[in-house]
């Protein structure tokens, strides 16, 4: 049982929970995630990124958007209530070292998993350019935290309600065109955004890391449900990832696989669930 220590509503339906998970808080590294299950009899297992952790107080921070049954229930929990099971930390940690200049792009709720990576890259002595994007101003999260860490900070919204009007790929291309060009790009957000970020950096030869959030069951490499095609090879996101070379990922196949349960919409009960799995990723990641 994992007690909820604090709860905050970041925007409309985006929540930040701090929950007690001392072992995970101690072992976790940037880039890793957990699998959460609210109820062990019939509950589903959903992957959520670890947005932050405090090993002294033994808590981890989860940021997610309530889009399906489980994330809605999670959002309804109150401080003092508990989550039945949290498994982790899972996945390979982000490779962090001093690269030089690192440009980090966060789209929508993808900003949450980006946050610990930016922290880590900063601590390793990199110069950091952070680009955050969202459909509209009120969907931007962690702006204050990111501004504090970034050496250069750019905000974009689709409707121009904050920062530049336009897509994150515009400033990303400009930055890649600078001399010297950045040494590394990290892009986390909806699959379509990551796909276009990878396309944006490709002509400049800037290595680009993306973090994938596929459908998962076990999260330990046992089922292969999370598999993606990376450079013609099949990889399991939960154990080989979640981070991959964005220039090698077959995003089109991944986006189709995310919709795997869409056609089962007639099963009214599962409707909610499928929206968790697919729309979550359309919107960003949890």
């Amino acid at each position: 049982m994992h007690e909820i220590v604090s709860k905050e509503i970041l925007t409309d339906d985006v929540y930040r929970l701090r929950v007690r998970a001392p072992l995970i808080a101690e072992e976790r590294r940037p880039g890793q995630f957990v699998i959460v299950q609210l109820e062990e009899e019939y509950g589903e297992r959903i992957p959520l990124t670890i947005a932050d952790a405090d090993s002294r107080e033994g808590t981890i921070t989860l940021i997610f958007q309530a889009v399906g049954k489980t994330t809605h229930q999670l959002g309804d929990l109150k401080v003092g209530e508990s989550i039945q099971s949290i498994l982790g930390p899972l996945g390979k940690p982000t490779h962090i070292e001093k690269f030089g200049t690192v440009v980090c792009v966060g789209g929508g709720i993808g900003t949450a998993p980006l946050h610990p990576i930016v922290q880590g890259m900063k601590a390793a002595g990199n110069r950091l350019i952070v680009i955050l994007g969202a459909r509209t101003q009120k969907l931007i999260i962690l702006e204050r935290e990111m501004r504090a860490l970034a050496d250069e900070f750019i905000l974009c919204t689709d409707d121009g309600s904050a920062g530049r009007k336009g897509l994150v790929t515009d400033p990303l291309k400009e930055i890649c065109g600078r001399t010297p060009k950045p040494d590394l790009a990290v892009a986390i957000g909806p699959p379509i955004m990551m796909k276009f970020c990878a396309e944006a950096t490709r002509p400049f030869g800037v290595p680009t890391v993306v973090s994938l959030n596929t459908i998962m069951v076990d999260g330990t490499g046992m089922c292969g449900g999370c598999r993606v095609t990376v450079g013609k090879k099949t990889q399991f996101v939960c154990v080989d990832g979640p981070e991959f070379d964005g220039h090698q990922v077959d995003f089109d196949n991944m986006m189709k696989r995310l919709k795997a349960y869409k056609s089962h919409e007639d099963e009214a009960h599962h409707k909610c669930h499928m929206e968790t799995q697919a729309d979550l990723l359309k919107e960003g990641r949890a």
């Binding site: 072992e27 589903e44 069951v217 154990v239 349960y261 099963e267 009960h269």
Partner: protein, 498 residues
């Protein structure tokens, strides 16, 4: 084979027993051989296709006694040679014939910890029953004494009478042992080590313990209640079970000893890495590993529509690729989830199929369509990336390979298309690499299996391993046998180092 109703089978046995019981002691071998083998009462195929309850219902007591009277009590007991854990088979069968069921269980329990499980899932026809004199005399292995069904019968009888029996536990030694995984190998180690008075913690990655017995083998073949009772027995013995704990990530193996003070570790993490065929189209929507399909159905209870939050893909036409127990379980699960047609596609012939004979027979009765000497070579999809069909190739059997099995050879130009909307890849499992990747100095072989010596010890001091992580995908009984051996070594090591 037509389906005989359970009351019929019972009445037949009652009639036979009336005749046999009074002259039991004087029955000659030729009399015994003439006693008809007792059929297993099963659910009607037409009904069971739509439910997940157990297919084989178990012998009636009268049937068990009649079947037991078929045993010749061979002095050399070839059946025992065929048993991986060398159960005293004639001994327990005689007890059943004599109506001493409690005595029978006691004999089995000397060698096996999980008779209710093994009686159901062991491949008896390649183990004890393959060697049985009765089957050999009748030149039909299906006429061997039904050792597995008898084992299951007395194990179920015991459970219904007394619940699972707990062994006596020695006083606390102050030592503690970590057991990683909770499949049959780990259950055995936990019980055997705890019995000696050592503290035991089982670490399991999933939210429920039991390993493949829980997430892989379906309810209709092994009721989860039985696995839960075994796990509860461990808990009552004082074994601590920590679920949602993945060793290598939540805690590194070595940290369990260095930071958490465990005196020894047993690794029983199984063969949980699904193999794919590496053919075109394998990542299309609607293609699943058997592990994913079965886990969604069993562990996540996706069959309970309306209750379970986890969805499962309901194909109308489902292809299952493979010929082992995993393939049979997937095909029969697909039937139960409402598929209109389930096609099982296997490269060799029925003779070479590694699945238990009983499961193949049950699958046929349930309407699974078998394709022998065929194999998928491509999976085709539509613009949405969803499976629409598979392209297969025909094969013939060529010369025998190193293993003595005749190698399938493809027939050039024999391609044909089968329309499908789901494909389940059930060609086996390899070992999960997580422990290997996160434990320095742990020796593994070229297939990634952990290397152990003949005491079950790995290349690291105080670290033992057994079950599928050592053997590659094998069987429950072998996992249990390896668990026994490792537990004995751990107990000896702890006793020797004060």
């Amino acid at each position: 084979m037509s389906h005989l109703s359970s009351p019929n089978l019972r009445q037949q046995a009652i009639d036979l027993l009336k005749d046999l019981d009074p002259r039991q002691a004087t029955l000659k071998a030729k009399d015994r051989i003439r006693i008809p083998a007792q059929d297993m009462p099963t659910q009607d195929p037409a009904i069971r296709r739509r439910n997940i309850q157990e297919v084989a219902e178990g012998y009636f007591p009268e049937q068990a006694r009649v079947e037991a009277m078929r045993c010749l009590q061979c002095r050399n007991a070839p059946c025992v040679e065929g048993c991986p854990v060398r159960i005293d088979i004639p001994g327990f069968i005689r007890a059943i014939a004599e109506n001493n069921f409690a005595g029978a269980v006691e004999i089995i329990r000397r060698n096996s910890l999980l008779p209710a499980v093994c009686g159901r899932v062991c491949p008896q026809e390649t183990q004890c029953q393959a060697e049985c004199t009765v089957g050999k005399s009748l030149k039909d292995i299906n006429q061997a004494v039904m050792i597995g069904r008898l084992e299951r019968f007395v194990a179920d009888w015991e459970r219904e009478q007394h619940g699972v029996r707990l062994p006596p536990i020695k006083p606390d030694t102050g030592r503690k042992v970590a057991v990683i995984g909770s499949g049959p190998a780990s259950i055995t180690v936990a019980a055997d080590v705890r019995r000696e008075g050592h503290a035991v913690t089982v670490f399991e990655a999933f939210h429920r313990p039991g390993g493949v017995l829980l997430y892989g083998i379906p309810e209709f073949r092994l009721p989860k209640k039985i696995v839960e009772m075994e796990i509860n027995a461990l808990k009552t013995m004082g074994v601590e079970i920590r679920t949602n704990f993945v060793v290598g990530r939540t805690r590194k193996l070595m940290d369990l000893m260095v930071k958490d003070g465990y005196d020894a570790v047993f690794v029983g993490t199984g063969a949980g890495l699904p193999k794919f065929m590496n053919i075109e189209g394998e990542n299309l929507v609607g293609v699943f590993s058997a592990n994913e399909y079965l886990t969604r159905a069993n562990l996540m209870r996706a069959y309970a529509v309306g209750q379970a939050d986890t969805p499962i893909f309901r194909g109308r036409r489902v292809a299952v690729l493979g010929g082992g127990n995993v393939a049979m379980d997937s095909a029969r699960t697909a039937v139960r989830l409402g598929a209109e047609e389930v096609h099982l596609i296997y490269r060799r012939t029925e003779v070479e199929m590694p699945a238990r004979v009983e499961e193949v027979a049950h699958a046929k009765e349930e309407g699974v369509i078998f394709h022998f000497l065929e194999n998928a070579q491509r999976i085709l999809g539509n613009d949405y990336g969803v499976v629409t069909s598979i392209e297969c190739l025909r094969y013939e059997l060529g010369a025998p390979d190193e293993s003595g099995r005749r190698r399938p050879v493809e027939l050039k130009g024999s391609e044909f298309i089968l329309p499908m909307d789901a494909v389940i890849v059930a060609i086996g499992n390899e070992s999960n690499p997580l422990i290997r990747q996160t434990t320095d100095g742990l020796k593994t072989n070229k297939w990634g299996n952990i290397v152990v010596d003949d005491t079950g010890k790995t290349s690291i001091d105080r670290v033992y391993a057994g079950g599928d992580i050592v053997l590659g995908a094998a069987t429950v009984i072998l996992a249990m046998g390896e668990g026994r051996r490792a537990a004995a070594s751990i107990n000896a090591q702890l006793a020797a180092s004060p």
